[in-house]
């Protein structure tokens, strides 16, 4: 499979690296499910951004008289948590925190991973081996465990959470970037650029990065889902954002007390985390399909 794909990519991909993305809008080439997922994500982000001006109670205002109210209670459509705080409000503000903790580390890791991967891909054998073995070693840690170690080392807080999660995702991005670079680095158009005197930086900036960037970004988009999941998991075991601040994982952890008394209440944060961790991969995989299928319609 890889042989055939690589051969086709070799013929088609480098001809006009960036022109083929402008030819037809990328979004219209997404599969339907990805377009739906993208729409839902945009709506969700809009809703979360609008949360401060929506007519909902504050996510911090608790009332011990209204603890663990069920769904559709008066003034609390999604009920309340164990401290009587409005669940809808906490979920909206919690989603905001979780989105930041989900997206920011991927942005940082993609930037750094792209640098490591492209340098390793273009470098000689020694540098490549050193860098990629380093990446292998980072892979030897289960991601959850590595982020857990970093989270307890750096202390809890949104900033350190983002830092810890960034370090987790550098290795996967670097590996994808390196694979993509090694697929194209010996193609004729790169050799042509090199023989006409283009320097290392020029080849990197004009021949390599623009060609591999779409694939890497599609992959990064999918990673956001997995990262939201890990961030929520860390919140779930108390290593996320400190307590009164709403965050999906810690909300889930707080609602675990309701599992036996009022299970549907505990399901609300589950649904939001599930949605976030599914929607991003749906969009990312669609992007990858749209990009890799680019040769077939010409």
């Amino acid at each position: 499979m890889t042989g055939a794909t690589a051969a086709r990519a070799a013929v088609i991909a480098p001809a006009t690296p960036s022109a083929r993305f402008r030819r037809r809008g990328l979004i219209t080439r997404l599969p339907l499910r990805s377009r739906i997922a993208l729409t839902l994500l945009v709506l969700l982000v809009a809703l979360v951004l609008a949360a401060p001006v929506l007519p909902i109670p504050s996510p911090f205002a608790g009332d011990l008289g209204t603890r663990l109210l069920p769904f559709l209670s008066e003034g609390h459509p999604l009920g309340t948590d164990s401290q009587g705080r409005d669940m809808l409000s906490r979920l909206l503000f919690g989603t905001r925190t979780s989105l930041i903790a989900g997206v920011m580390p991927i942005v940082i890791a993609t930037t750094l991973g792209l640098v490591i991967g492209t340098v390793a891909g273009l470098a000689g054998r020694v540098v490549n081996t050193l860098l990629m073995r380093g990446v292998d070693i980072m892979f030897a840690f289960p991601g959850v465990l590595l982020s857990l170690l970093l989270a307890i080392t750096l202390g809890v807080g949104l900033g350190t959470l983002i830092l810890a999660l960034s370090l987790v995702w550098i290795a996967p991005v670097a590996r994808i970037a390196e694979t993509e670079v090694s697929r194209i680095r010996d193609l004729d158009y790169v050799t042509a650029a090199r023989s006409s005197g283009a320097g290392y930086g020029a080849i990197l900036g004009r021949q390599i990065v623009p060609v591999i960037l779409p694939a890497v970004l599609a992959y990064a988009t999918s990673l956001v889902g997995a990262n939201v999941a890990i961030a929520g998991g860390l919140g779930f075991i108390g290593l996320g954002v400190p307590s009164p601040e709403p965050e999906l994982g810690s909300i889930l952890q707080e609602m675990q007390v309701a599992v036996f008394s009022n299970p549907s209440l505990a399901l609300a944060p589950v649904v939001v985390i599930l949605a976030l961790s599914m929607l991003f991969p749906l969009v990312g995989d669609g992007l990858r399909e749209a990009i890799s299928g680019r040769g077939q319609d010409s």
Partner: protein, 325 residues
């Protein structure tokens, strides 16, 4: 030299190269675990003795804990002790770490084994369904696969717990055994839900790999040729799966990492006294000796599993031995 000797020679070279890399990785893993825990702010002696202690008392404890030595020496000591099976003393439980880890390790391996077995079955079923000729079925399987791949284990675990232990109380809600009932059936009933929660993602990932292998094979003339020779559908299927096996083993090896990570949450949700629950518990209690030991153990299990997967692959697929390690 005959052909068999050459391949054997290559196999030995491949395995020894992998062994060196594994040892190197294990060493770096140890460094990361040690220094991550060491750089946690705060004074362990103060944490143990409390704020009422005097400076002399704390210094004395630091000396007995070996914290007065240079960091490199401490690291060397820690590695040396770990190689001798000594992981120090848990200050919150008042017992040697080894005594705490032993039973937890057994429980996690039990859960991981059950989850792996389930994942393999799931992969075989889904991978084969995904390559049938009936398009609607393929699409449904693809959708299910995408869901399994990206649903976080702890959400799956909570949904399963609520659905099949609370709303429909078919399975026990937590623990590994019912008090006073040590039967294997009881143990199995306790393992079902947590094992499903851990098996979905690895199963789907392996199914994807199996699907790719089978559809690649379907694009060739091999299966029609074999069919024309009169092989039964069963024999055909065996041929198709043999080719798919090595990549599936690699995927399973990698996915063991996600299972070990997921065990952190799933064991917690189902109150299973395993390594994952132990990590979370010791993190909450700030018992860093214990965190250090369990984190090292989990990472080492993963490293060894990756090694085992590569060696098994080399045994199954001669092409791997010949290529670069």
């Amino acid at each position: 030299m005959d052909y068999k000797a050459i391949t054997r020679n290559r196999f030995v070279r491949f395995v020894s190269a992998r062994l060196v890399l594994t040892a190197l990785t294990a060493f770096f893993v140890a460094i990361v675990v040690f220094f991550a825990i060491r750089s946690i702010p705060g004074d362990p002696a103060l944490a143990v003795l409390g704020v009422d202690s005097t400076l002399e008392e704390r210094n004395a404890l630091r000396e007995t804990m070996g914290l007065d030595a240079p960091v490199a020496v401490q690291f060397a000591r820690w590695i040396g002790d770990a190689l001798h099976g000594q992981f120090g003393y848990s200050y919150t439980q008042g017992r040697p770490v080894v005594d705490i880890i032993g039973p937890a390790l057994g429980n996690t391996l039990l859960l991981g084994g059950a989850a792996s077995a389930l994942a393999i079955v799931l992969a075989l079923v889904m991978g084969n369904l995904a390559t049938t000729r009936w398009r609607p079925l393929r699409r449904v399987v693809d959708g299910v696969e995408a869901f399994f791949l990206s649903a976080p284990q702890y959400t799956v675990a909570l949904v399963l717990l609520i659905a099949f232990a609370v709303v429909l109380p078919i399975f026990p809600a937590g623990g590994l055994v019912t008090r006073g009932d040590g039967s294997p059936a009881d143990l199995a009933a306790h393992l079902v839900l947590p094992a499903i929660a851990l098996a979905l993602a690895p199963g789907a990932q392996m199914a994807r790999s199996l699907k790719t292998s089978i559809s690649t094979l379907q694009a060739t003339e091999l299966l029609p040729t074999l069919r024309a020779r009169g092989l039964s559908p069963w024999r055909l299927s065996v041929h198709a799966h043999h080719n798919a096996l090595p990549p599936m083993i690699t995927v399973l090896g990698i996915q063991v990492g996600s299972m070990l990570g997921g065990a952190l949450f799933v064991e917690n949700i189902f109150s299973i006294p395993g390594l994952g629950a132990l990590v979370v518990q010791s993190v909450t209690l700030r018992d860093y000796t214990l965190v250090q030991a369990v984190a090292l153990l989990i990472a080492l299990i993963f490293v060894v599993v990756l090694l085992a997967a590569d060696v098994l692959n080399a045994l199954l697929d001669p092409r791997i031995r010949v290529g670069r390690a």
